[in-house]
Symmetry: C2
Subunit: 169 residues, 2 copies
């Protein structure tokens, strides 16, 4: 799929087919994520690939906005290693660019996905962290629910002239 | 350009031709940015498009890693409105996804770009904020230097098996 079309037509998708995502596609999504730029090129990211039905079900309850994970065949948690990148603000930016790459790649592969916020919600980070056994030095930034879509969402018109400033705010 | 190819071949580009970016391409980059997902779909983003030579030169000195902006014909500052989104951590994530979309779109349009970190560096936020007259309620997250590339950087091999965990960390 064309890059610009992929960017403009990606939507949050919460309804999925009961169909596994092939291992090579999962790897391609992770590789796309790893190609995001990171502050000082430190690449502090870690990924937890979740395809175990029981764990997906647990997450669908533990995270307040993850009900759709009852149907998702895949989820990816993106986090950053505090021992590699000590600046928390950079971990957030790095992992967010990673997350966006994964979601765009998912769309290009015919998958639907939705970004579930983790950071800075302490309760979610703790509850999801417990299920996935995330150690203290890994900061969980996002949880992505992924599957083959059974819904289509119209691309939005988003351009807002009033948010664009020229040379000075 | 194909989406996956765009993601995998985008690199930080710091050397540019002395050539303006057409207004319709600038608008397409901003539109790509605005299509990034945002927490609760609040879309708190603001953009400052900088193409004034004198201001680009000022920025190249004010930001410690912006020397390449002496050659760049364009820069885009991405920031978020604290009055629209009160959770600072969400503004960072939103604006980072926006920044990544802009950089991918730039690459797809044959442009090169590099992400210059702003947040959470107080000095940079203050110095750049002064030049661009950014008000208090706008949190500046990233500054993107953009131009037609005169360098090519080889796509990296990034996949790290040891950063991928299955179902539990």
């Amino acid at each position: 799929m064309d890059a610009i079309e992929t960017i403009l037509t990606r939507r949050s998708i919460r309804k999925y087919e009961d169909k596994k995502v092939p291992a090579e596609v999962v790897k391609a999504l992770l590789d796309a994520g790893m190609h995001a730029p990171t502050a000082r090129n430190i690449q502090p990211w870690h990924f937890i690939v979740i395809d175990d039905r029981a764990i997906l079900d647990q997450l669908s309850i533990a995270h307040p906005y993850a009900k759709m994970m009852k149907q998702a065949s895949l989820a990816i948690l993106v986090g950053g290693d505090r021992n590699l990148q000590e600046v928390e603000g950079y971990i957030i930016q790095d992992c967010s660019a990673v997350t966006q790459n994964i979601m765009l790649a998912a769309h290009a592969y015919g998958l639907g996905s939705v970004w579930l916020g983790m950071y800075p919600r302490e309760q979610r980070m703790q509850d999801v962290g417990k299920i996935l056994e995330i150690p203290e030095h890994i900061l969980p930034v996002s949880l992505i629910s992924i599957g083959y879509p059974t819904e289509t969402v119209k691309p939005p018109v988003r351009y807002k002239e009033e948010r664009v400033h020229f040379n000075k705010f």
